[in-house]
Symmetry: C2
Subunit: 277 residues, 2 copies
């Protein structure tokens, strides 16, 4: 799926050309098949994660960072619950980025990001990220235009430094339709136990939908690089989204092909000592 979902480097991005319900040429046909296929990936994903972690104990600095971005209700939280939930929590570092605190605002915008990066052997997951600083910051004019326009280059250099340091950066835009967002917000209103997830401000944000969409297009256009490409995942169907993100992770982890390190001790001697005492 990497090749199918990747945003081409250096080309203009028109999100209306990307399907929100499924990629036209790939993926399971329906929910039953999709859920089954996602469940079948879990053991391999778990083993690859264990190997990545094991390799780090012998000095392998490689790790993976999954960046999740998308409009409200696009399923960032659901993806973490259903896809990342299959990993061993010991090797995962999940971080949600909300509106920056006073302390965070007193630092450059990448400061809080750098402090949340995965360590060697870990899988890091960002629920929102440094891209908020060119998305909401652009739409709401939270920074001078000139500062904003410099941020794309800073992000690219930052991500390049990560990949140089062994971080595989997988950036996923969960692509949701305007209509499906309406449905999901209505569903939250229907269930009192979902009201804590609801913010009337989310309705105001819908009025700025075209502005957000354009901000995403620019970010994808300027920050899909060879080292750290963006992937557009159709997000109107939860089962398809889970399958697609799981598949992206699987393909990247397979490509890393981390290995269990060999022990540098005398196995027979250790066994003798254990049996002797």
């Amino acid at each position: 799926m990497r090749d199918l979902l990747r945003v081409p480097v250096g080309e203009p991005v028109d999100l209306s050309a990307y399907d929100t319900s499924r990629h036209p040429s790939a993926g399971p046909a329906d929910k039953a098949a999709g859920s089954r296929a996602t469940a079948l990936m879990a053991p391999e994903l778990a083993e690859l994660q264990e190997r990545l972690y094991a390799a780090s104990t012998a000095g392998d600095r490689r790790r993976l960072l999954l960046v999740l971005q998308g409009m409200d209700t696009s399923g960032k939280g659901g993806t973490i619950k259903h896809v990342i939930g299959g990993f061993n929590p010991s090797g995962c570092r999940v971080r949600a980025f909300k509106a920056p605190t006073a302390e965070e605002r007193s630092h450059p915008f990448l400061w809080r990001i750098e402090r949340a990066l995965p360590l060697p052997g870990e899988i890091g997951i960002f629920d929102r990220s440094h891209y908020e600083d060119v998305l909401v910051a652009r739409v709401r004019e939270l920074a001078p235009r000139r500062e904003l326009s410099h941020r794309y280059g800073r992000i690219n250099r930052f991500e390049r430094s990560l990949t140089d340091d062994g971080v595989t950066v997988v950036k996923v835009f969960l692509h949701l339709s305007y209509e499906e967002q309406r449905e999901r917000l209505l569903q939250r209103l229907d269930k009192p136990e979902k009201h804590w997830k609801f913010d009337p401000g989310d309705i105001d944000a819908r009025e700025r939908w075209p502005a957000y969409r354009r901000a995403y297009e620019i970010a994808l256009e300027r920050c899909s690089t060879d080292e750290a490409p963006w992937y557009v995942v159709p997000a109107d169907r939860k089962w398809y989204r889970n399958w697609a993100v799981g598949t992206l992770l699987l393909e990247h982890l397979r490509a890393l092909d981390p290995r269990y390190p060999e022990g540098d001790f005398d196995v027979a001697e250790c066994r003798r000592r254990l049996l002797a005492d």
Copy 2:
């Protein structure tokens, strides 16, 4: 299980009086029943976690910290994988404490602990903890005796400050037998893909087993408090250990009884606006 596994406050602790295979009067009869019972807890645990997290969005500062301690191979990692693995990773903050780094050694021993605490609404999990500073530090004489003896009081005051701040502290000692540890170390030797978890130093540590055991007894004796008691979980059988830790978490979360916050917005008006646009 809380009442059965809790270490009584202010009484001498003799670990030989605690069973390593199962509590004599509670728990499933065999592996099949135990695995089934553990699986049956998962939905309620997940819902309680979601409610805890949801409540924090409305200002509830409560959270839970699970501290896991035990000899090598006692199953700290396995507990995290199997019990914590059922939670939503978004609300979990897992931290493993290894031998302190140079930076960590330059600070008081609680410094690195304070930086890893769960935020309101989260479940924090410590794989080893500040107790290492009265366990390995005592056995290996890594600090002056006088400093060591002050640490118990500091730990109690620190944990008291946590519980005052809304943290439910659940401290679990995974109680493993000397014989079962031998078996587990031999099993690691038998499997090349487990060699990365094996350290010949673990065999050396077995020679100090009585010293470690005594250090645990003292820690449990001096730091099992009304606010933050210790629990001794029999750990020779993985399925029993998982069931017991899951049950302890369930009982504590049920006692917290976190509630979904009510929305403070006009549901009908929001619905109208959503349908209008």
